[in-house]
């Protein structure tokens, strides 16, 4: 892309970041943060990193944005002040000086590194053996599948960690309904949620399938599914499940478990996480589809938060 476009993009990224930091109204700050995330996604796109761009927009802007909006609503309901307090000038100046010097040092470091992608030369000749085209998928699900396997358990563990915050009388219950307090907003969310969930499902399924050869894959698709589930829940189109529902537990562990089982099955073919010859693509696609489902459900429940008591207690959110 042209230099002018890149320059404008960089200025807009800095501008939205600055406004998100300095604006006093929390809702405005969130709005600019989401805009910032989307612009960062464009920057990644402009650098040719399509997979990173998808992840940045879906998680950095989308999921985090929803999380911030829900957090603001929770704080408002608790009667907490949601605008930032006064920060002493010396702190601003100190933080500015520290961040600037770190940024300069980091920039000098990055510029000192000779740009060459030696790993790309290593990856390319290995791809035909897998039967897929997307090198990122090759790295995530073959060459570095072990990292991805462990990461899928980190995500599962994150949900367990959120659940561990549930108050004793709320366990095992449902998370707080992420309903919009405002009637009109609720209607909008309800209508769009009903429409968007099936669209999200189709889009996510396509992203997984395309992920073998084009940018996409289980993580991006899982985020899209999570977004659809969250919007549907916010509009009341679907309810949130109890944390002890067997079906829910099965959906959560399905992806990591299938991945682990295929990894252990590899021992028969010679070693942990070895794909038998000719089966690589089939196994990778199996892992990706199951993982996408589990990631989607896990992410949606992560945003929904820990179970809260059924009785209408205003501050039952694990706060305090």
């Amino acid at each position: 892309m042209s230099g002018a476009f890149d320059l404008i993009l960089c200025l807009m990224i800095l501008g939205t970041a600055g406004i998100a930091l300095f604006v006093r109204d929390a809702l405005a700050a969130i709005a600019f943060f989401i805009a910032f995330g989307n612009l960062m996604g464009l920057a990644w796109l402009s650098l040719g990193a399509v997979n990173v761009a998808l992840a940045e927009i879906a998680i950095g802007a989308g999921v985090t944005g929803i999380l911030l909006i829900l957090a603001r609503a929770r704080l408002l309901a608790l009667g907490d002040p949601v605008h930032s307090g006064d920060t002493p000038t010396w702190l601003w100046l100190g933080a500015f000086a520290a961040c600037t010097s770190f940024a300069v040092l980091l920039a000098a470091t990055v510029l000192s590194i000779t740009p060459e992608s030696g790993l790309d030369r290593v990856v390319a000749p290995l791809m035909p053996g897998l039967g897929i085209e997307n090198r990122v998928t090759g790295v995530l699900l073959a060459f570095r599948a072990y990292d991805t396997l462990l990461e899928s358990f980190v995500l599962l563990g994150a949900l367990v960690a959120v659940w561990s915050l549930a108050p004793a009388r709320a366990w095992p219950g449902r998370p707080a309904e992420p309903r919009m307090a405002d009637g009109q907003m609720h209607q909008v969310a309800g209508a769009s949620g009903r429409v968007l969930l099936p669209v999200a499902l189709v889009m996510a399924a396509y992203l997984v399938w395309a992920g073998s050869d084009l940018p996409g894959g289980a993580f991006q698709a899982g985020t899209v599914l999570a977004g659809g589930l969250m919007l549907a829940a916010m509009g009341g189109a679907i309810g949130l499940p109890r944390s002890d529902r067997p079906l829910l537990r099965a959906a959560l562990v399905l992806g990591p478990l299938v991945f682990l089982a295929i990894g252990l099955g590899g021992i028969a073919a010679g070693g942990f996480l070895i794909y038998p010859k000719g089966l690589a693509k089939a196994l990778i696609v199996t892992i990706e589809y199951t993982l996408f489902l589990s990631i989607g459900v896990t992410l949606a429940l992560l945003v929904a938060g820990p179970p809260v008591a059924d009785s209408p207690v205003p501050d039952a959110g694990g706060n305090g």
Binding site: G118, F143, L150, L156, S164, F272
Partner: protein
């Protein structure tokens, strides 16, 4: 057939099973503890040079698992410690402040996640893979800390997050600079340039946070002191050790040619300061669990005090063994001490040290476990702590590093002061003893004291197995490879 992957895969399988079994998942530890102990023992007895390329993808792209001395000892000690903590949690459930049902159930998947993460971290030589294992352990640790105090856990989470990001930034710089993040490959190509120094600085700072080395220890005492006893034991025994092991990989394996002696003495100096500061803080506590938590701050100090001693030695194996064995002995003794402290506080009138009066009569086995763990932490013979400190002390004297030698001796004395203070309180007569309480029998059955007693006993027995453990620790030491540790020129 090479089964190194099982040490990671099996705990992950137990994590899934615990989630599926929900409330009954706690019983899985009856299978997990012996299975994991067996696997860890098998690992310790493997012939030297056992490695596994995961998925058979060659370096620099793939991930290498390797059973070196540190991995063998840490995985084995980890299996014994986590297994014992898990079995203990069956009889003394980590209910948290409100006896939380959520806590009692979610403790188990988190325990298995930490187990898998710790084993994966001890075995791998890949710095990005280590990042993932660091996340597994940190995530479980934060959640376990939150079972005691949400505020302390949130503080821990923030600083652990900062540490993770700094570490990841360092990994990114290294992969851009060298096209590999495997420590065995980095050792062959390491060069002194801005990117390497920056990466090493960022990663070291991040790992010092995770290992809670003074002055980055601030998050540890409130988090470790407030958590339920089995959670505290996991945090102090396992969570802080992974950061330390990764620092070993970075400083002694990947970049021994870069880390100058000045930098090593900075780490050693921080370690020495941690020993003194942590001990003094422990002496100043009037509640039991913060005392034990500050003792962790002090004990972590010894691990880093050993860095310049290992690097400066002509024949580094004995200082290396001292450092590794100290880590192992601390795992066993501190887990035992936290479990015993948890039982003692449940029986005592309050959480102050002065409230412990009469416990020596009421729960002799538990107090014995506390005492045996204290023997190892103080470094009295015979114990693993003594063997480790003896090795470090002789290395320090041999090199004429009398400052470090002095800290080793003084640290032991200070530990004696604060630990005997807690122990003697247990032997004091019951505070405000009435006629009914004076004659009370043992308040806990023997079963509850088994796990802390076994762990403390192992810390003592380590003192008799010194030679064998030193031999294991010497398997595939970094200086056996072509790179020789010669930290003479400061960068």
């Amino acid at each position: 057939m090479n089964l190194l992957g099982l040490l990671v895969a099996v705990p992950l399988g137990f994590m899934v099973a615990a989630l599926l079994l929900r409330g009954s998942g706690r019983w899985l530890i009856l299978a997990a503890a012996p299975v994991m102990a067996g696997l860890a023992l098998w690992l310790a007895l493997l012939p030297p040079g056992t490695t596994l390329l995961v998925g058979n993808w060659d370096l620099p792209l793939g991930i290498l698992l390797r059973a070196d001395g540190v991995a063998r000892l840490m995985v084995l000690a980890g299996a014994l410690v986590i297994g014992a903590i898990g079995l203990h949690a069956l009889v003394d459930p980590p209910g948290g402040k409100d006896g939380g049902a959520a806590t009692a159930e979610t403790f188990w998947p988190l325990l298995y996640l930490m187990w898998a993460g710790a084993n994966a971290g001890f075995l791998t030589t890949d710095l990005f893979n280590l990042y993932v294992t660091l996340e597994m352990v940190s995530l479980a640790a934060v959640a376990l800390a939150a079972m005691g105090s949400l505020a302390a856990a949130l503080r821990y989470f923030m600083i652990a997050m900062l540490g993770s990001l700094a570490y990841l930034l360092g990994v990114a710089l290294l992969v851009a600079n060298y096209n590999t993040v495997d420590v065995t490959l980095l050792a062959q190509v390491a060069r002194l340039d801005l990117a390497t120094v920056m990466a090493l600085g960022l990663m070291t700072a991040a790992l010092l946070i995770k290992a809670a080395l003074f002055p980055m220890h601030g998050w540890l005492p409130p988090a470790h002191a407030a958590a339920p006893a089995p959670a505290s034991a996991l945090l102090s025994a396992i969570a802080v050790k992974l950061g330390f092991v990764i620092l070993l990989r970075l400083w002694f394996e990947a970049f021994p040619a870069i880390t100058g002696s000045a930098a090593l003495h900075v780490l050693g100096g921080l370690g020495a300061a941690a020993v003194i500061y942590g001990s003094i803080q422990a002496m100043r506590q009037d509640r039991l669990k913060p005392l034990v938590a500050y003792s962790t701050v002090a004990q972590v100090g010894y691990l880093f005090l050993a860095f310049p001693l290992v690097a400066g030695a002509v024949e580094p194996s004995s200082a290396w063994a001292g450092m590794t064995l100290h880590g192992v002995a601390h795992m066993l003794a501190k887990a035992a001490m936290f479990l015993a402290a948890g039982l003692m506080l449940k029986a005592a009138a309050g959480d102050r040290i002065a409230d412990l009066g009469g416990l020596a009569q009421a729960m002799p086995l538990t107090v014995t476990a506390f005492g045996l763990a204290a023997v190892s932490l103080m470094g009295l013979p015979p114990s693993g702590g003594f063997t480790a400190k003896f090795l470090l002390l002789s290395a320090a004297i041999e090199q004429g590093a009398f400052l470090y030698a002095g800290v080793l001796v003084v640290g032991g004395l200070l530990a004696a002061v604060y630990l005997f203070r807690a122990l003697s309180a247990c032997f004091a007569p019951l505070a405000g003893a009435g006629p009914d309480t004076a004659s009370r029998g043992p308040v806990t059955g023997g079963v509850k004291a088994v796990a802390p007693l076994a762990l403390a006993g192992l810390a003592i027995v380590m003192g008799f197995a010194g030679t064998a453990l030193v031999d294991v620790s010497a398997i595939e030491v970094p200086w056996a490879t072509p790179t020789v540790i010669q930290p003479e020129v400061a960068p």
